[in-house]
Subunit: 120 residues, 2 copies
DNA sequence: CCGTATCCCCCCCGATACTG
DNA sequence: CAGTATCGGGGGGGATACGG
């Protein structure tokens, strides 16, 4: 399968795995947090409300594995770890941001639609 | 909470629920399929490979509930049902398409990064 | 401070069978 | 053709405890 033929509509296509990663709620919010610049683990955790330690670590590892985020450890005590978007991560953020904006700007209308639907 | 204050980073914010909906793999692929125009249930199922009957129906109902998709039943035998994006659905598709394109165009690089990471 | 390890519950989702 | 209903397995993810 050549690069031009990647199609997330195909079940076995690796690009679908990528869509899954992107679709993960914590990934989107984590990348969004890092959009403002490098951040420490605890700072990310504070921003992304509701994420558990386990899930945040898991998400960061996955993003690092995909080359979207770098992890820098400062050999200090207490430990100091910083995460930062790579160029690739920033390019992804550029397409994710409009999505985030869409969600916040259409939330009211969607809520109304839901109420109407449920009233039927 | 006013519209301007919606933030998906807040755990209880409804916009996060919307992000979850958007993040769902089947939602993205279903909306993508309908981007070409109205389609019948069976046509969508054929395009979105690997989706089960249950999940497709569930996804379409959710999209309809959110006012992103319309469902039109033609009273014929055998039954004929068409799904179509609403204006809102099309506006969402506009921000989803770049995401889909990003996934296919960066898949090769991501795959390489994963191999390198796993080799460590 | 930044994790890893373990347990365990919930619920998502696929498989299957049935219907208008 | 386009669903609905039901059952059951698997894994995502929370809670907790512990380590460097």
């Amino acid at each position: 399968m050549s690069a031009l033929e990647y199609s997330p509509y195909a079940a076995a296509c690796p690009s679908r795995q990528l869509l899954d990663r992107i679709g993960d709620r914590w990934s989107v919010l984590t990348i969004g947090t890092l959009a403002d610049g490098p951040a420490r683990y605890s700072a990310i955790a504070a921003r992304v409300q509701g994420v558990s330690q386990k899930m945040l670590t898991q998400t960061l590892r996955a993003l690092e594995r995909d080359g979207l985020v770098t992890r820098t450890v400062f050999p200090e005590i207490p430990p100091h770890v910083e995460y930062e978007l790579t160029d690739r991560g920033r390019s992804l953020r550029e397409v994710l941001k409009p999505l985030e904006d869409w969600a916040t700007s259409h939330m009211d209308d969607v809520a109304i639609s839901r109420d109407e639907y449920d009233a039927r």
